[in-house]
C-alpha cells in the first residue's frame, strides 16, 4: 500500500481527468442523440439508415476508432479530443437506437390521448414521450458511461488515458509495480460503479411512476408457472 499512499494526489488528479474524458462524451452524445432518435422514430426511412449505421459504428473496436479520429477530424494524435470524440460516437451509436425504440414503445393510446388533448408535436415530445422514454434512456446512458470509463484507459495506448497511465506505467517498471496497476484498475472500477449507481439513483428519482407498479391490481392475474 506504500506506493498508493504516497501517490494519492496523482491518483486523484488522474481520476478527475479520467472522469472528464469519459463523461463529457456522454453529455454531448446524449444531446446529439435525442434529435437523432426522434427522427429515427418519426420516419421509417430515417430509422432504416440511422439504426444500422449506429450499429456498425458501435462494432468498431475502440483502439481502432481512437487511432482513426485524427484522420476524420484532422486533429493531432495526442489530442484528448480524439478519445472524447470516439467515445461520443459510441454514446450516440448506443443511444440513438435506445431512444428510437423507447419512443416507439410509448403506448399508442397515450400518444393519441395527448394529441386529442391539444398537445402539439414539440409539446407532446417533451411532456409525454420523452418522460416515458426515461427508463430506457437511463439504461442506455448507464451503459455508455460505464463502458466509456473503462475505454478511456485504452486511450493511454495513444497517450491520453487518465487512470490508464498507471496501468501502462506500472507495467513498464521493472519488476512490474503491481500496486500501481491494481490501484489503477480499482479506481477505474470504483469510478464506474459510483457513476453507475448515481445514474441509477437519478433514474429512479426521475421516474417515480415505475415504482410500486404492483399496486392493488394485478395479483391473481399472475402467470401460474410450473
Amino acid at each position: 500500500m506504500n506506493w498508493v499512499i504516497d501517490h494519492i494526489p496523482e491518483l486523484l488528479s488522474a481520476a478527475v481527468d479520467h472522469l472528464q474524458l469519459a463523461l463529457l462524451p456522454v453529455v454531448v452524445g446524449l444531446v446529439l442523440s435525442l434529435p437523432l432518435g426522434w427522427v429515427a422514430n418519426r420516419w421509417t426511412v430515417a430509422r432504416a439508415i440511422l439504426v444500422p449505421v449506429s450499429g456498425l459504428l458501435y462494432t468498431i473496436p475502440s483502439l481502432a476508432l481512437f487511432v482513426m479520429m485524427p484522420l476524420l477530424l484532422g486533429t493531432k494524435i495526442l489530442d484528448p479530443i480524439n478519445v472524447q470524440a470516439a467515445l461520443t460516437i459510441y454514446t450516440v451509436a448506443l443511444l440513438v437506437r435506445s431512444i428510437a425504440d423507447a419512443l416507439a414503445a410509448v403506448p399508442d393510446s397515450v400518444v393519441q390521448a395527448a394529441s386529442a388533448m391539444g398537445y402539439r408535436t414539440v409539446g407532446r415530445f417533451f411532456a409525454v414521450e420523452l418522460p416515458l422514454a426515461i427508463p430506457v434512456l437511463v439504461a442506455g446512458v448507464r451503459v455508455a458511461a460505464v463502458s466509456n470509463i473503462s475505454l478511456v484507459a485504452v486511450g493511454q495506448i495513444i497517450g491520453v488515458g487518465g487512470l490508464g497511465y498507471f496501468l501502462l506505467h506500472g507495467a513498464q517498471s521493472s519488476p512490474p509495480n503491481y500496486q500501481e496497476i491494481i490501484a489503477g484498475i480499482a479506481l477505474i472500477v470504483l469510478l464506474a460503479l459510483v457513476v453507475d449507481g448515481l445514474l441509477a439513483l437519478a433514474g429512479r428519482a426521475l421516474t417515480p411512476w415505475t415504482r410500486q407498479q404492483r399496486g392493488p391490481v394485478g395479483r391473481g392475474r399472475s402467470v401460474v408457472s410450473r
Binding site: 435506445s98 414503445a105 473503462s150 475505454l151
Partner: protein
C-alpha cells in the same frame, strides 16, 4: 500525399503481407487475432450458454447473473489484460490473453442466453409442459430454439467485444492486429497505425456481417420480426465494442 494515400500504400505494400526481417506481416497478425478471438468465444460459449440456459429455465439465480454482468462491464479490459499477462508470464501469454477474453465474453453470453430463455413466451412453455414434455425436452425443443435470436445476438456482441479487446493485447507484447497500432505509435509511423486501425475495424465489421447472416440462416422464420417494438426497447442495450 494525404494520410489516406499513405494508409493505402502501407496496406498494399507487399512487404507488409509477409514476414520481413523477422517482423510478421498482416496474414500472421490476422491469424493471431482470429485465434485469440475464436478460442475465447468458444470457451466462453461452452461455459456460459449451458449455464445461462439452466438459470433461465429454472428462473433461479437471475439476479446474480444481472449483478455479475453489470459489475463486469465496469472492469477495464486493458487493466485485466496487463495484470494477467504480467502475473502469468510470457510463456503463458496465450493462456493469459484467453482467460482475460473469456472473462469478458462470459457475462455477455450468460446474460444473452439467460434473458433469451427467460423471454420465451410463458404460454408456449406452459403448453409444452402441459403436453407432456420433460423439462429437458422443454429446454431443448422449445426454450432454446425460441431463445436463439437473443443467444446469437449475444454471441455477436461477445465476439465483437473480444475482437476489440484482442487488439489491445498488443499493448502487453502479444500479437494480433493491434501490433500495427502499437508499433506504429512507438515508431511514430502514423501510416502503420492507421492501417492497423483500418484492419481491426474491417475485421469487426466483416465478422458482424457474417454473424448477422448466420443468424438469419439459423433462426426459425417464425421468430423473425416477431420481436415487438416494446420488447426491443427492453433489450435494446447492446454489449459490444
Amino acid at each position: 500525399m494525404s494520410v489516406f494515400d499513405q494508409v493505402g500504400d502501407w496496406l498494399t505494400n507487399p512487404d507488409h503481407w509477409k514476414t520481413t526481417l523477422g517482423i510478421a506481416g498482416i496474414p500472421q497478425r490476422l491469424g493471431e487475432h482470429l485465434q485469440y478471438t475464436g478460442l475465447a468465444v468458444l470457451i466462453a460459449a461452452v461455459i456460459a450458454i449451458p449455464l445461462g440456459a439452466y438459470i433461465g429455465h429454472t428462473g433461479r439465480g437471475g439476479t446474480v447473473v444481472v449483478g455479475v454482468v453489470n459489475s463486469f462491464r465496469a472492469l477495464p479490459e486493458l487493466g485485466l489484460l496487463i495484470l494477467l499477462v504480467l502475473a502469468m508470464g510470457l510463456t503463458l501469454a496465450l493462456e493469459a490473453v484467453t482467460i482475460a477474453l473469456v472473462l469478458l465474453a462470459v457475462p455477455v453470453l450468460l446474460a444473452g442466453t439467460y434473458s433469451g430463455v427467460r423471454n420465451v413466451d410463458r404460454a408456449a412453455v406452459d403448453a409444452a409442459r402441459g403436453m407432456g414434455m420433460s423439462e429437458w425436452e422443454i429446454l431443448l425443443k422449445v426454450e432454446l430454439p425460441n431463445a436463439l435470436p437473443l443467444i446469437l445476438g449475444a454471441v455477436r456482441s461477445a465476439t465483437l467485444q473480444v475482437i476489440a479487446t484482442a487488439s489491445i493485447a498488443a499493448a502487453v507484447s502479444l500479437g494480433g492486429l493491434g501490433r500495427f497500432v502499437i508499433d506504429g505509435n512507438a515508431l511514430r509511423e502514423y501510416d502503420q497505425m492507421a492501417a492497423g486501425a483500418v484492419l481491426i475495424a474491417g475485421l469487426a465489421i466483416v465478422v458482424e456481417l457474417l454473424l448477422t447472416g448466420l443468424q438469419w440462416l439459423v433462426v426459425s422464420p417464425g421468430l423473425r420480426k416477431k420481436t415487438s417494438r416494446r420488447t426491443r426497447a427492453r433489450t435494446a442495450i447492446p454489449t459490444s465494442r
